[in-house]
Amino acid sequence: MKLLGSGIFKGMAVTLENFVRSYFDRDRKHHLFTKEYAWKSDAPADQLPARADTTVTTRSRNFPMLLHDGKGSEDPMASIRCVACQICERECPPQCIFIEKEYDANGKFVKRPVIFDIDISVCMSCQICVEVCPFDAIVMNSEFELSNNDRFNGLLVRRDALLKSNDYYHRIHPEEAQERDDRMAREKAEKEAKQAAADAAKKKAAELAAEKAAELAAAKPKVDPAAPTATPQ
């Protein structure tokens, strides 16, 4: 003989409990859950908005950015990592990247992009370009206040706007940046090691050849008449 309407009263008890406890949930963990908007004006310049823990985490990706290794002061183009190999342009699913190579005075390809545009009205921040880039030149930024009122040119981000310094990358995605730098350092070390090994091998081969040549030169005056039959080892 269940009391009439007891289901509704039980439901109302739940909502009343939520209503009352929302006034006592100081650290807003459960009963008052809204995270207030992290106003950019509150955050210090060139820094993630102050309340980074709420809206933007250390791995959140919004739109791509190009990296350069230079310090803040000098011309970023000097140390840009991108070599305009156009792999990311081909692999980008929504086809929103456009690159034009830079050629110096007499037409030789300088390993740098003259134009590197990303149309952020088309880009869906899917991060495929970061994966396929062999030179770690492009990574994901987590800047989210990008809206502007010019639909045509405002949303086409040019190369200079995309360029960011590596230590800005360390600031927004610390462990990812660290991991990437370690990997690059490791690869460079391996390459040098390989290079060194190759130099050593070449040097050794050169010495060997020089030695053999010297030996050959020394042996030749003795058996001059029988020389034609000797075949070089």
């Binding site: 003989m1 009439l4 309407g5 509704i8 439901g11 109302m12 739940v14 909502t15 009343l16 939520n18 209503f19 929302s22 006034y23 459960h30 009963h31 008052l32 859950f33 809204t34 207030e36």
Partner: protein, 377 residues
């Protein structure tokens, strides 16, 4: 003659102003309470132009909404019946305003002649109250018909059917109190409740229960907000209204909520009397409003919890549950008033009413109940 006119004006103008400003406050209250029920904050930011000042606890939100409604374009659909489309919101608002003056809401600064006029007006207040609120049904139908839109026609027909069928339990449950007091005048009803309020008698409690549910249906609130069921027929009868006509509909709805809850307070919660009222009579105003806001909190609380009924269930609930219960309550109250020993009548009434309520609800939903589920590995 002229001074009576002035006195009438002095009586009605403050009531209208108080309740109109309370309307703004209630919209804010409703959004804040609903927000807190749903674990969120509710309106709290209003960017006041030219100042950096932002956090205002949302108190300016009703002002912002009102301004937005004023500025918004007022679209009338092509084939709509222009005159009726304009008349409907006015007809929704005017009865609600008129009815507010019938509440026994004695203003502190009233002098003798104003009190006499107020008493005269309140003579058969309850009957006038129901007479005038029935015009609201007309306005809803006019809105539904005039906007020449399938959804609003559906909403209009639903609203008319609902209001007509819930008026009967409303009137019958009020009749119980009128029978107990023996007069239609709000003044006498409030006076009769000076010692104990009617809510504390079993038949009074049952009458209040029926009155409250029927008043929810009358003002299209919470479980009965079928005419404006946004998930089925978008916004029901006021789909095609925008701009200030839409705001008028909302003002009309909130004022009718104040009015019908004001009547509930006079009938069951003893109008203006409460502790310390003899000491300073101006407190009766405060008590009256406090009780109304108590009921409004319950309405908002219900709105945040309970889903909506279907049209046929709504009709079945009115005709097969509320009306028989209110007629039975009439008889039980008559018996209880005849036999004066409270210790005998109260348990008996409570038992009879509860048994009838449970029987009727069992009768309606035979094979509906929570189920158990079996699992497969």
């Amino acid at each position: 003659m002229i001074d009576t006119l002035i006195h009438i004006l002095a009586l009605t103008a403050p009531v209208a102003m108080i309740f109109a400003s309370l309307f703004a406050f209630t919209t804010w209250l409703e959004r804040k309470i609903l927000a807190r029920i749903q674990n969120r904050i509710g309106p709290n930011y209003i960017n006041i132009p030219f100042t950096k000042f932002r956090k205002t606890f949302g108190l300016l939100q009703p002002a912002a909404d009102g301004f937005k409604m004023l500025v918004k374009e007022d679209i009338v659909p092509h084939g709509a019946d222009r005159f009726l489309h304009l008349l409907a919101p006015i007809l929704a608002l005017v009865p609600a305003m008129m009815v507010l003056c019938l509440l026994p809401f004695d203003l502190p600064f009233a002098n003798e002649s104003m009190k006499r006029i107020h008493a005269a007006a309140l003579d058969n207040a309850v009957l006038l109250f129901f007479g005038i609120t029935s015009i609201n049904t007309l306005a809803v139908f006019m809105a539904g018909w005039a906007s020449r839109n399938k959804y609003s026609l559906l909403g209009g027909m639903r609203a008319v059917a609902q209001m007509v069928s819930y008026e009967i339990p409303l009137v019958l449950s009020a009749a119980v109190v009128i029978m107990a007091v023996g007069s239609l005048s709000a003044q006498k009803i409030v006076a009769a409740q000076s010692t104990h309020w009617f809510i504390f008698t079993p038949w009074g409690l049952a009458a209040f229960f029926i009155f409250f549910i029927a008043s929810l249906a009358e003002t299209n609130r919470s479980p009965f907000d079928l005419p404006e069921a946004e998930s089925e027929i978008i916004a029901g009868y006021f789909t095609e209204y925008s701009g200030f006509k839409f705001a008028l509909f909302f003002l009309g709805e909130y004022l009718s909520i104040f009015a019908i809850n004001g009547l509930a307070v006079t009938l069951f919660f003893g109008g203006g009397n409460g502790p310390w009222v003899q000491a300073h009579p101006w407190l009766s105003c405060v008590w009256f409003l406090a009780k109304i806001f108590g009921l409004i909190f319950i309405i908002i609380w219900l709105r945040g919890t309970v889903p909506r009924l279907r049209v046929d269930q709504l009709m079945a609930f009115a005709w097969k549950f509320l009306m028989p219960l209110s007629i039975l309550n009439l008889f039980v109250a008559a018996v209880a008033l005849k036999v004066q020993q409270p210790w005998l009548t109260w348990p008996l009434c409570a038992l009879v009413l509860y048994a009838a309520a449970h029987g009727l609800s069992r009768l309606q939903q035979k094979n509906v109940g929570p189920r158990t589920y079996q699992y497969a590995e």
